[in-house]
């Protein structure tokens, strides 16, 4: 029998790591080549990681919530020597290396237990147990610093634990590379809330802990025993939190709101329903809004741009990739329609439908969620008159569309019923002035109110 290490394969261009959502196999399971072994969260996609080799799972080396880098060993397989080297690197480019059964040096002679070694971190003075193998939950616990060369005071090490950042990953700014309190705060600044301890925290300075990563029920809250539940921030939720925090802290947002008479748009869509049905799809308002948006940002290119903070340059984009926010059971995702300007209303409808369904099922490919140049949020399909959405950084604007309602208006001195839809444009005030946004909105609404214009501008 030989031990095979299965490493994390390349996940896509520019993706260096992913966060383990859950294992799909457990030690003792027999796996076949190409079988999915783990669910990994990268950027905003959840991907299934296959093993290129057959064998019996020996050890899973990470716990849900931990970040795994490409080329790190995910798990080890027990396999016959022949089986171990079948089929080269496999279609996923995974690499494999044979180890002559992991060293059995005692963890008690300053040694490091194999799982800890595999993750490149230190061991503990206690006996280690690969938790993944036993199903016990202490997610998000990185190995002790005892064996690593991290320089930080005990209080700083504790702070890192409490706010849930791996101190080994922080580059210290202090003397001789010391990780300072400020370094830890800076790296974990975002997701903080009340103190870790339920009662009697003597150190109020440390009142910045994220909700503990201990399994639900770990808290006996002061007044109500079991009156709270703590859940680890992992997966999509963690990604959303990080992205929102970043966008909100970098971009000075402002939002402009207006309403449009969509009577003609409603009529146009009604008249096209039959066509859609014949083409076996459904046409919503979104593709029309997309077309109107593209036509308008051609006129106002600063809305289809990014700010390269490092280079201090504005990047104007000559292509039109439209993201649209989709609500899924595990949270917000933003599928992207590439080169939307070159697609017909029918094509857009089909693609929106397909992406929405796969977003809901968590089956989107990473590539289908990247590269947007501007985003539309269609929260109005649920409710609310107006919202102030957060821009999908590094984009500089997000268009909000809201539900259509019938409203009384005065037209030529007469009270009339009119179909009205609200829109918002939220923009990065560093790049876009208020007056520009107002002109943008005006130009956009003129297209929405007179959809025939779209025909004129169609490429």
């Amino acid at each position: 029998m030989a031990t095979i290490e299965v490493k994390l394969p390349e996940l896509g261009e520019g993706v260096a790591e992913g966060e383990l959502v859950r294992w799909l196999v457990k030690p003792g399971d027999l796996v076949k080549p190409d079988q999915s072994v783990a669910e990994l969260m990268t950027d905003k996609a959840t991907v299934e990681v296959p093993t290129p080799y057959a064998g019996i799972v020996k050890e899973t080396l990470f716990k849900p919530g931990q970040v795994i880098k490409v080329e790190q060993v995910l798990l080890t397989l027990e396999s016959s020597a022949q089986g171990a080297t079948s089929q080269g690197a496999g279609p996923h480019g995974s690499t494999v290396s044979e180890t002559t059964s992991v060293a059995t040096t005692s963890a008690f002679q300053g040694g490091v237990h194999p799982p800890a070694k595999a993750s490149g971190k230190g061991g503990s003075s206690g006996t280690s147990v690969p938790m993944g193998a036993t199903g016990a939950s202490s997610s998000g616990v990185y190995p002790p610093v005892a064996e690593s060369k991290v320089l930080a005071t005990p209080a700083t090490r504790r702070l890192a634990r409490e706010i849930g950042v791996d101190i080994n990953e922080i580059s210290g700014t202090g003397l001789a590379g010391r990780v300072t309190r400020d370094d830890v705060m800076a790296s974990g600044g975002g997701l903080t809330s009340g103190s870790g301890l339920v009662k009697g925290t003597s150190n109020s300075e440390v009142g910045v802990a994220v909700p503990s990563k201990i399994a639900p029920g770990a808290v006996f809250g002061g007044a109500f025993v079991g009156g709270e539940e703590r859940v680890a921030i992992v997966g999509i939720r963690k990604k959303i939190a990080q992205n929102m925090q970043m966008a909100k802290s970098i971009i000075p947002h402002f939002t402009l709101m207006d309403e449009a008479d969509v009577t003609e748009l409603v009529n146009m869509r009604e008249s096209l329903k039959a066509v859609a049905e014949k083409n076996k799809t459904k046409i919503t308002y979104l593709p029309f809004v997309m077309k109107a948006l593209i036509a308008t940002i051609r006129e106002f290119p600063m809305f289809n741009a990014s700010i390269d903070d490092q280079a201090q340059e504005i990047v104007y984009k000559k292509y039109f990739n439209l993201g649209f926010a989709a609500d899924t059971p595990s949270g917000l995702v933003v599928p992207v329609i590439k080169q939307a300007d070159q697609k017909s209303i029918l094509q857009l409808s089909r693609e929106i439908l397909d992406l929405s369904i796969r977003a809901r099922d968590g089956k989107l490919k990473l590539d289908e969620m990247r590269g947007a140049t501007i985003t539309i949020t269609n929260i109005g399909s649920v409710g609310g008159t107006y919202a102030t959405p957060i821009i999908n950084h590094p984009e500089v604007a997000i268009l909000g569309m809201y539900k259509i309602s019938e409203k009384p208006v005065i037209k030529n001195g007469q009270l009339a019923a009119q179909k009205v839809m609200n829109f918002t444009i939220t923009a990065d005030h560093r790049l876009i002035d208020g007056a520009v946004a107002a002109n943008f909105m005006k130009a956009f609404l003129s297209r929405i109110q007179n959809p025939n214009l779209l025909m004129v501008e169609m490429y």
Partner: protein
């Protein structure tokens, strides 16, 4: 059936500390103890042995040093062993009583008896009066370790002793064979020798305290032990014993040849074994390794997620202060805090004469960890005013630092009050201090603590109170270098 948030099993220095912290956090806590509150440490380990060592230290000074200092005692200095034992026991009772008060004061329920898991959520406690079940959301196993026995030397704690029996002796043995020259064996050897016992240490290795302390430190102690009359047989193995009258013939194999020594007591101190192999853990499904340690992760959580293990049973080093540190940590984890074992080092102390204390890495360990070049500074107590005036000048302080950064990696002390001096070193290492930090901290004069500052200076090449070669190593470096 009573329900708790936390049940701690074992009231040693790990368990009682975990229980108190749990209670402080507002958790409904119970502690189960089958023998004594305070565990081995307070009752048959650390504390009573320190009492014996302190008493015999005074005896030794009275016998050997007083005359030179001009203190004359007429008549022989005698030891009343019964009184000494009584005093030693009073020390233990005081400490154990203190633990009891602390537990009660924190509203920890103390349950007496032998515990055995029924499931991962329920435990049965057996007493002579019957058995009682308790349920708890969390358990902390802190059941410690026990002395290792070797074949042919069945412990009776009367003549063939573990440390427990040795500490309970109510008379001074004439000749004792000590099997194992580790820290427990040597602590007992040195105080028994001071009481007048003839001591023969049977050590399998070529040196004492092998693998436990810095070899330079061990050598100082070995020399003094032998000077005091303790006989050490190196590379020797105790093969068996036979009783003849009230005495024992111990067969020792050394260099391929057998020899026999006749003694009246035998002390077996070859190490301690964790109690993880006991049946009481089985029903909860807790994984234990082949040495008897409960398998735990960095949070000291076992494979059963609501059960933790701390102290001797959870891994090396088997030291009380490590257990207490883990006890506090685990209680806080149960209380909802995000914690894991993050100590850089566990300091260790051996109460031989002179004492040995260490924190951090030895030179060998530092090299093994990849520190290519080291700065080592050594400062002798003989050059320290306080040590000279105490008439305790044996030993030195040795500081090991990374030559690249001057960050202190390890400190090893052999000498007077080494046990108390080491805490400064422990703090320095945990804080990531550099040699300059120790050297630039004003240490009060005249104290033993000055040796730490001087050793740091020595590592930098310019200690004041010793002559260092090469001379003219400038203490005024280029700060940008």
């Amino acid at each position: 059936m009573q329900n708790f948030d936390v049940i701690v099993i074992g009231a040693g220095p790990g368990g009682y500390v975990a229980a108190i912290r749990s209670a402080q956090l507002g958790l409904k806590t119970a502690i189960i103890e089958r023998e004594y509150l305070g565990g081995v440490c307070l009752n048959v380990g650390c504390i009573p042995s320190k009492a014996m060592i302190a008493a015999t230290h005074h005896l030794h000074r009275a016998q050997h040093d007083f005359k030179e200092m001009g203190i004359m005692i007429s008549g022989p200095i005698e030891v009343d062993m019964k009184q000494l034992l009584k005093w030693k026991n009073s020390v233990c009772e005081k400490m154990s009583g203190g633990v009891s008060q602390l537990l009660k004061g924190n509203k920890v329920e103390i349950i007496r008896g032998e515990a055995e898991f029924k499931s991962a959520k329920e435990i049965i406690v057996k007493t002579t009066g019957g058995s009682q079940s308790y349920q708890s959301k969390y358990f902390i196993i802190a059941t410690g370790s026990r002395p290792i026995e070797i074949p042919g030397f069945k412990l009776d704690e009367k003549d063939i002793l573990s440390s427990t029996g040795a500490l309970a002796l109510d008379h001074i043995p004439k000749h004792i064979a000590v099997i194992g020259g580790g820290y427990i064996g040597l602590e007992i050897s040195s105080y028994l020798r001071k009481l007048g016992t003839e001591v023969t240490v049977i050590e399998a290795q070529g040196q004492l305290l092998a693998g436990v302390v810095d070899p330079d430190c061990a050598q100082v102690v070995a020399r003094k032990l032998e000077k005091s009359g303790v006989k050490v047989l190196y590379g020797a193995k105790a093969k068996g014993q036979s009783k003849s009258g009230s005495k024992y013939d111990v067969t020792i194999e050394m260099g391929g040849k057998d020899q026999t020594i006749t003694v009246d007591k035998i002390l077996v101190t070859v190490g301690r074994r964790p109690n993880g192999d006991q049946a009481q853990l089985r029903a909860a499904g807790i994984q234990v390794d082949e040495r008897g340690f409960v398998k735990v992760d960095a949070q000291r959580r076992t494979n059963v997620s609501n059960i933790f293990a701390i102290g001797d049973i959870a891994g090396q080093p088997m030291l009380a202060h490590k257990a207490s540190h883990e006890g506090v940590m685990v209680a806080e984890i149960i209380g909802g805090a995000n914690r894991a074992y993050d100590a850089k080092m566990v300091p260790a102390v051996v109460f031989t004469d002179p004492e040995i204390a260490s924190a951090g890495l030895t030179e060998t360990e530092a090299k093994a960890k990849g520190y290519a070049s080291l700065k080592v500074g050594k400062f002798p107590f003989a050059a320290n005013g306080r040590a000279v005036s105490m008439m305790e000048t044996e030993g030195f302080v040795k500081i090991i630092a990374d030559a690249k950064t001057n960050i202190v990696l390890g400190v090893h002390i052999v000498g007077p009050e080494a046990s108390n001096l080491i805490s400064e070193a422990a703090l320095a290492i945990e804080m990531g201090a550099r040699l300059e930090d120790l050297a630039l901290t004003i240490h009060p004069h005249p104290t033993l603590g000055e040796t730490m500052m001087e050793a740091a200076e020595a590592a930098l090449g310019h200690a004041i109170h010793i002559i260092q070669r090469p001379l003219n190593q400038s203490p005024v470096g280029n700060p940008r270098a």
